[in-house]
């Protein structure tokens, strides 16, 4: 059965374009993205390209960079802190991504039902996302305080002794993960909500007439039709999770010990605090490589997934 409705991806726009009279491509749309483009080139693309070169130098931000070939990359092999940062980041990604996907999907499904107060519910879930990361960090440092934190007060209520959250190597990363989930789940939820609203009602009706129960409807209608959105959310969440920084910087600075040291935190620390911009750029290049590989597999999976659905 072909259940995917024709959308922009399957070429309906292309068909429309064919009908339109041929004319020179207009520059107008580009004027609209020009302000963003200027910032993108000046503050994203430019520095990224510069970083590519800096990675092969020894540079302290002042003075002339000295070319050192692959020395920065060789130094990585002898750097135990980098190993810590890599391990912690992967751990963070492995725990945060599934939690965020499942939770945001569940919230989207729940808040997609026609029920009283759902607008308020959506706002409540999304609201943390608009708070500045530093504020989130300070707020959760208080919530997670071992002795007087709100979370432990609630846990005490259920007879659970004070959890040392941010002041123990074994729990600090969970504190960061908890904060991250609270902070960003609303964003993923909104994407899922948009995806859910694109699914035509007739399909649900048809499934129900065929005798499908709630789980069956979810498994064979919602989930497959939501696949493009799920892939998008998955990709964004993985990439964002690999780049976790703000919460860590504000809440733990990578500590206690090296328990919450992540790759971007380490890049920032080596570059700006230790003035080793060459080495920092080299590590950033490695992170970039990881993200490219992740994105490559995801885009491939996305295409295959689409084909499977069709």
């Amino acid at each position: 059965m072909r259940i995917l409705p024709r959308t922009a991806e399957s070429g309906s726009y292309a068909a429309l374009a064919g009908l339109a009279p041929k004319r020179r491509p207009s520059l107008t749309p580009y004027y609209f993205i020009l302000p963003y483009l200027v910032f993108f080139v000046l503050f994203r693309l430019g520095p990224s390209l510069a970083g590519l070169g800096i990675a092969f130098t020894n540079w302290q931000a002042v003075g002339t960079p000295r070319f050192v070939g692959f020395a920065n990359f060789e130094a990585m092999a002898r750097d135990p802190r980098l190993g810590d940062a890599f391990q912690n980041t992967v751990f963070f990604v492995l725990l945060t991504v599934p939690t965020l996907i499942v939770l945001s999907l569940a919230l989207a499904l729940f808040l997609n039902q026609p029920r009283r107060g759902r607008a308020v519910g959506r706002v409540v879930v999304f609201m943390p996302y608009v708070i500045m990361s530093t504020v989130v960090g300070v707020l959760w440092t208080w919530i997670l305080d071992k002795d007087f934190g709100l979370l432990n007060v609630y846990l005490n209520f259920f007879g659970i002794a004070n959890v040392p959250w941010l002041v123990s190597e074994s729990t600090a990363m969970y504190g960061i993960i908890l904060t991250t989930v609270w902070w960003t789940v609303g964003y993923d939820m909104v994407l899922f909500l948009a995806g859910l609203q694109d699914i035509p009602h007739e399909l649900y009706e048809a499934a129900r007439i065929d005798g499908a129960r709630a789980w069956g409807v979810f498994r064979f209608v919602t989930l497959p039709l939501l696949a493009p959105t799920t892939f998008l959310v998955l990709m964004l969440t993985i990439i964002n999770s690999f780049q976790v920084f703000d919460q860590v910087y504000v809440m733990t600075s990578g500590g206690p010990g090296t328990a919450t040291l992540t790759l971007v935190q380490y890049i920032y620390t080596t570059s700006f605090q230790f003035q080793k911009f060459g080495y920092g750029s080299a590590v950033a290049l490695i992170l970039f490589g990881i993200l490219v590989i992740v994105a490559f597999f995801q885009i491939r999976g996305y295409r295959r997934g689409l084909k499977g659905v069709e």
């Binding site: 302290q60 931000a61 002042v62 003075g63 802190r81 810590d84 305080d145 071992k146 002795d147 007087f148 040392p164 941010l166 002041v167 123990s168 190597e169 910087y249 600075s253 990578g254 500590g255 206690p256 010990g257 090296t258 040291l261 620390t269 700006f272 605090q273 230790f274 003035q275």
Partner: protein, 428 residues
Amino acid sequence: MRKLSLMLLLVALLTGVMALNAQDVVTLEFWGGWTGPDGAIMQQLVDRYNAEHPGVQVNLTVQAWSPLFDAFIAAASAGESPDIMAMHPQETAMFINLGLIEPVDDIVAASEVFQKDAYVSKAWELQFYNGQMWALPFDLGIHGLYYNLDLFEAAGIEAPPTNAEEFLAAARLLTVDAAGKHPGDEGFDPANIVQYAINMHTNHHGFYQWYALYNQLGGQLLNEDATACAMDIDKAVQAWQWLQDLVYVHYAAPQGQTDYARDFITGRTAMLVDGPWQIPAMIAAEAEGLRWATAPYPTIFDKAAVWGSGHNFTLPTFADPTKRDEALAFVEWLAANSFDWLASGQLPIRNDLIASEEFKELPGRQAFVDMLPNQVLLPNIPKFSEIFASNAPTPMMVMGQRIILEKADIRTEVQNACDAITAILSIP
């Protein structure tokens, strides 16, 4: 049309006035990391200066020290700098090495305010690196011992502890569980302690304290030319052991503490090791019934030593050279008016201030000032940040947090830190 020409005239006039102003008023950019209540006091000083000197406009920029230094370096890479940059004496080598600050020997030679004899000698000496003077001294801050007078009286302790023996005796009496029992008493319950004797830093002040205790044992951190770790492992272990035992053996300090001043003010701890910058908070807490006093940091081991730091002013290389005179005049004014800065709790370093009657009337300072000759600063080296930075996983932070928070094996952590330090210093 008439409206338009009127507008144009107005604009022209305004521009003219502004241009005139710009010519008359010298603007000085002044950066410092005073994010606590001390920031407000510095702003008041700056405001007063601006009011008294119509030809100069000082703009104070305050953000936390670490991002402030990042911004200082980033600005310098673009050839820009503030006109006056505040920092701490142990950080100057880092910026000297980067070429971001200039020596002040000539300026000092010509200055009537910055004269060696007018200052506590320690404060003066700290501004030197490789035989040159690089910064203008402003204040010092060291650890001291705050104690709660009511809790001391309740425990029957007459004087604050000065050595290890007195300290442990007092700590036992000041640590109380829910049943009113002390450590060592029959049935004492470490899981239900309601009052601890003292705080235990889980942040960078943890290794600051260790550094003081290690110095009390006569230990040295780096070799003479600062190219390798030169720790005496046994002494380093002994110093950490004292701190770790306070938490895990004597139950005198809480585990995993986060807000030291608050715990002292609320009576959760009877003593507090911290800097003089907590004095304003203590004075404010008197309204809540706190009765407090200060004592010198105790000498636990062989000789007196206490962690310290301070503030100074540097003149950045990339600052506008034509504003140098105004910048210097402002800093001289600050130094001459540094009595007002003492409201921040920081310690005076000018001899006339220390000897003055008005200083003696300020509460809590004397115990700190008495200990000034014993202050030890972290080594002023170009790679300071890589070894000592407080908000990064530096060898010192990792060692301290693992020992204090995780009860890690001290010898292993000390050895790891020493190896890491040598590795950092061995790279040119």
